[in-house]
Symmetry: C2
Subunit: 469 residues, 2 copies
C-alpha cells in the first residue's frame, strides 16, 4: 500500500488534526488504521492511504474544512461510493479523504415540475427507488448504482445501460450546490427548464471528477416512470454480423432503451462464473430492450427490432415473456463484472467510445491488439452508443503487455474518431493518454481552469491533468 505525502503538501499533523476536530465531532473524523485502509482504494484496486478520513454532513462543514485545507495546503479527496474505475477518488497525495456517505438526505420530490433535490452522498439506486415510488424515473443507471453515490455519478458524468435512449448524467442535472476549493459555496444551474445566464458553470462541474469543486446537493430532472419494458437477446455467428444488426436497429427510427453487445469470451467467462450453464454461448450476443408508457406501442417497437435482428441473420433469438425471464436475460449482462473479478486479479477496464459506424472496425482493432500483445481480452458494451468496454485481463498489477495493449487501443480509438473515455472518466489511469485525444492548447485550458478554481492545488490533486509544478 503506497502512502505518499507530496513534498509541497503539509502533512496532517497534530496541529492540523486539532484544528479539524474543532469542526468535526469525534465520530466523524478518524485516523484509525482500519479507516485509513478502508478508504485507501477504489474499484481500480489501486491503493493510496489518506492520513485522515472525514464524514461531513453539510456544505457549510465542507466549506470550513476547505478553508483549513487552504491555509495549511492539505490535499483533499472527495469520495462517494469508491466505485470509480479510473481512480478519481484515490488519495494519491495522502492527506484528507472527504467521504460524502452521510450526506444522504432526499429533499423535495417535486411531482409537478418533475424534479428531485438530494444531497450528493446518497447511493444512486436509493434515489432512483425513492422517485420510482412516485412513478418518476431518473434514467442514469451505471452498473455500480447500488454503491455509487449521486455525487460520484455527477462528478464522473456516469452513463449506463439506457444512454442510447436517455443520454448520460449531464442531460439530467438541472442545478447544484458546490463548495469551491477555497471554501466558497456556489450555486450553479437553474430549476427552470431553459436558462442561458452566463457561462455554463454547471456543465463545467459535471464530469470534472471532483477536481474543481465538491458537489454537495443537486436538483435532477425526472420523467414519468416507463411502466412497460420488454427484452430479447439475439445470437450471432460472427461479431461482424451482430454489428450489422446494431446498425440496422439504430437506423430503424425505433430507439431501444438498451442495446448491449457481449462477445464470446465474455459469455464464456460468465458461464464459468455462474456454472449452471443457463448463459448461451455464441460469437456475439445482443441484448435489446424497449420501454414505454403504452404497452402496445412498446411491444410494437420491440417486434420491429426483433424482426430486424432476424433479418440480419441472428442464429437464435429469445424473447422474455415474463418479468422473471426478462431478469434472467439481464442476469447475463450483470454476471460479467463479477465474472471478470473472479477470472483475474487485475484488469484494465477501458471504455472507449467511437461513432457508431466505427463500432465494427473498432472491435476488430481490439481483437487484433489483444492477439498482438497476447492478452486475454473481454469485449462487451453499450453498442447503441458505440461505447465499448475492452477489458484486458492480467494477474499482475503492472503488466507491460497490458500497458502496451491499452496504449494501442487508445491510439486506435482516436484514429477511428472516438473518445478514450465514454463514461469512466480520466482520473489517474487514463491521464497519461489524454494527449492522444486533446491538443496541447486544449490541455493547457484544462490546467488553467483547474488553477482558476483551485489556485492552491488542494482539491483532488494529480487527477485528469498532471499539473507541472
Amino acid at each position: 500500500m503506497a502512502q505518499h505525502v507530496h513534498n509541497s503538501y503539509h502533512p496532517v499533523d497534530a496541529a492540523v488534526l486539532k484544528r479539524l476536530r474543532e469542526i468535526f465531532p469525534k465520530d466523524r473524523i478518524s485516523n484509525e488504521p482500519v479507516d485509513l485502509m478502508t478508504y485507501s482504494y477504489d474499484a481500480t484496486r489501486k491503493e493510496y492511504a489518506p492520513q485522515v478520513v472525514i464524514w461531513p454532513e453539510t456544505a457549510q462543514e465542507i466549506s470550513d474544512l476547505m478553508k483549513v485545507a487552504c491555509n495549511y495546503r492539505l490535499p483533499v479527496y472527495p469520495r462517494g461510493g469508491g466505485t470509480g474505475l479510473t481512480g478519481g477518488a484515490l488519495a494519491v497525495e495522502g492527506g484528507i479523504v472527504l467521504s460524502l456517505e452521510r450526506m444522504v438526505k432526499i429533499g423535495e420530490i417535486d411531482e409537478q415540475n418533475r424534479l428531485v433535490t438530494a444531497q450528493c452522498g446518497i447511493p444512486l439506486a436509493e434515489l432512483k427507488t425513492a422517485v420510482q415510488k412516485k412513478n418518476l424515473f431518473y434514467p442514469p443507471d451505471p452498473s455500480s448504482a447500488k454503491s455509487a453515490t449521486l455525487g460520484g455519478t455527477l462528478a464522473e458524468c456516469a452513463g449506463g445501460l439506457n444512454c442510447v435512449k436517455y443520454g448520460t448524467t449531464k442531460d439530467w442535472v438541472m442545478s447544484a450546490v458546490a463548495v469551491m476549493p477555497t471554501g466558497e459555496i456556489i450555486h450553479v444551474g437553474s430549476k427552470a427548464r431553459k436558462s442561458v445566464v452566463g457561462y455554463n458553470l454547471l456543465q463545467l462541474l459535471i464530469g470534472s471528477e471532483g477536481t474543481l469543486a465538491i458537489l454537495t446537493d443537486a436538483t435532477l430532472r425526472l420523467i414519468p416512470y416507463p411502466k412497460f419494458r420488454k427484452s430479447f437477446y439475439a445470437l450471432y455467428d460472427s461479431v461482424m454480423a451482430s454489428a450489422i444488426a446494431v446498425q440496422a436497429m439504430l437506423q430503424s427510427g425505433v430507439t431501444p432503451s438498451a442495446l448491449e453487445f457481449i462477445d464470446r469470451i465474455s459469455l464464456e467467462a460468465a458461464n464459468n462464473y455462474v456454472k449452471d450453464k443457463q448463459i448461451p454461448v455464441a460469437e456475439a450476443l445482443l441484448l435489446v430492450e424497449t420501454d414505454g408508457y403504452d404497452e402496445q406501442s412498446m411491444n410494437e417497437d420491440l417486434q420491429i427490432l426483433l424482426e430486424l435482428c432476424k433479418e440480419k441473420s441472428a442464429s437464435a433469438i429469445r424473447e422474455a415473456q415474463t418479468e422473471e425471464e426478462r431478469a434472467s436475460l439481464w442476469f447475463i449482462r450483470k454476471s460479467l463484472s463479477p465474472a471478470m473479478y473472479a477470472m483475474a486479479a487485475f484488469k484494465a477496464n477501458e471504455d472507449i467510445c467511437v461513432p457508431i459506424s466505427e463500432f465494427p472496425a473498432m472491435l476488430e482493432e481490439a481483437y487484433a491488439i489483444s492477439k498482438r500483445h497476447n492478452v486475454i481480452t473481454l469485449c462487451f458494451g453499450h453498442a447503441g452508443d458505440g461505447n465499448l468496454h475492452v477489458n484486458f485481463m492480467s494477474n499482475q498489477e503492472h503488466d507491460d503487455d497490458v500497458e502496451a495493449a491499452v496504449n494501442d487501443l487508445f491510439r486506435a480509438t482516436v484514429a477511428h474518431g472516438g473518445s478514450i473515455s465514454g463514461e469512466h472518466g480520466i482520473g489517474i489511469t487514463k491521464a497519461p493518454y489524454l494527449s492522444y485525444e486533446m491538443g496541447e492548447r486544449e490541455l493547457r485550458l484544462l490546467v488553467q481552469i483547474k488553477e482558476l478554481f483551485d489556485p492552491v492545488g488542494i482539491l483532488n490533486p494529480s487527477k485528469i491533468v498532471m499539473k507541472k509544478e
Copy 2:
C-alpha cells in the same frame, strides 16, 4: 447612432487597416460608411458602429486576424445573422465586426452516424433544409432560423418552439472548432456519442455569446425526420384556465412537440396586423403539436392532449385536418413578432423561464407589473418549458416605465425560482440584471473565465459581465 471607441482600445487606424488588408482581399474588408451602418445594429434596434467590417472564410483567417487584434488591442465582434435580442453582436466598443456570413459550407452529412458538420455562418434554416433532404432532423428552431446563423444559435444556445420535446441547442452539438481570442485554434467535444475526457469545454463555449472564442465549424447530432405532425389550438376564457390545461398535458406522459401560449392582447395585436380577421381572439390560446414517425401513434398522442384541453374547459378547439390548416394555425404564432414591430417602435422582449408550476403565478405577476407601470404588455411563449416572452411595448428607446417594469419582472422571476433568460442570452440588455440571479462568487467566476480565455479583453468585450477595468 452611437460610435464609441473605448479609451483603452486602439482605433482601427491606417496602420491597422494596412495590416488587415494583408490578410483579407479587398472584397472581404470594408470601412465604407454604408457597410459600417449596415453592421451597426441587430434585432434590439440598438446601434453601435464598428470601424471596419471583415468577412473571413476560414478559421485560419480568423486566427490571423485575432493575432493582429491582440497586438494592437482592437475589439472584435463576431456576428452571425444579427438576429440576437440582447445585443450579443453589437460593436459597443467600435473596432472590428467579424461577419461569418461567407462561412456557409456544409461538409459531410453522415447518414450512418446521423451527424452533420458545417461552417458556423450558414443560416440555420438552410442547414435544416439540407439535412431534411436526407430525411434527417436538426430540432433547434428559433423563430429567427431563416436569418440566424448556426454559429449565432450555438453562441446564444438558441431554443424555439420544440424545446419541450427536443431540448435546446446545447443538447444537439457534438463538437466544434473555435478560434480563441489569442488566435489559437481549438477543437472541443467529440463525435463519439459519449465522451468524458477533461472538462466540458464544448458546453463552456455553447451559450457564451461569442465572448470566449469564435466558433467556426460545428458537428451536430441529427435524428430521423419525423414524417408526421399535427396541430390544434384551444381557446380559454381565462389565462388561469389555460395554465391548468398546460399542467394537465405535461403530466399526461405524452410529450407534445410544441406547446405555445398566447394571451388576448397578443392575439388582438396579430389580428390588427393581419387584418383579415382569421385569428381568433380569446383570453388565452394554446397551440399544441405532436410529431412522430408513425401516423397512428402520433394521432393518438394528439387526441390525448386534445381531450385533456376539452376536459380542462376549453371554450373552443380547432384541429388542423390538412397541412394548409396546420400552417394557418402556426401563422397565428408567426404573426406575433411582425405585429409587435408594427405596433410600437421599441419593445423590451424578455424571455424569462420559470419552473412549470410557477407559470400561472408568473403570468399574474407580469400582468400586475404591466398595470403598475402602465406599460402595454404582450405575453406569449413556450408554455411547455415555462419559458414566457413578456414584451413591454414603447415608442421611445429609453422609457423609464419600461425599465421599471423589466426590473420588477426579473425580481419576480428569480423569486419564483426562475431564470432571467431562457433562450435569448444576456448580451448587453440583461447584463445589469445578472446579479439578480447569480451570486457574487458565481459572477466573479464568469469574469475569471473570461479573463482566462481572453486576457487582452478584445473578443466581444463589454458583454454578459461588465469587467471592472
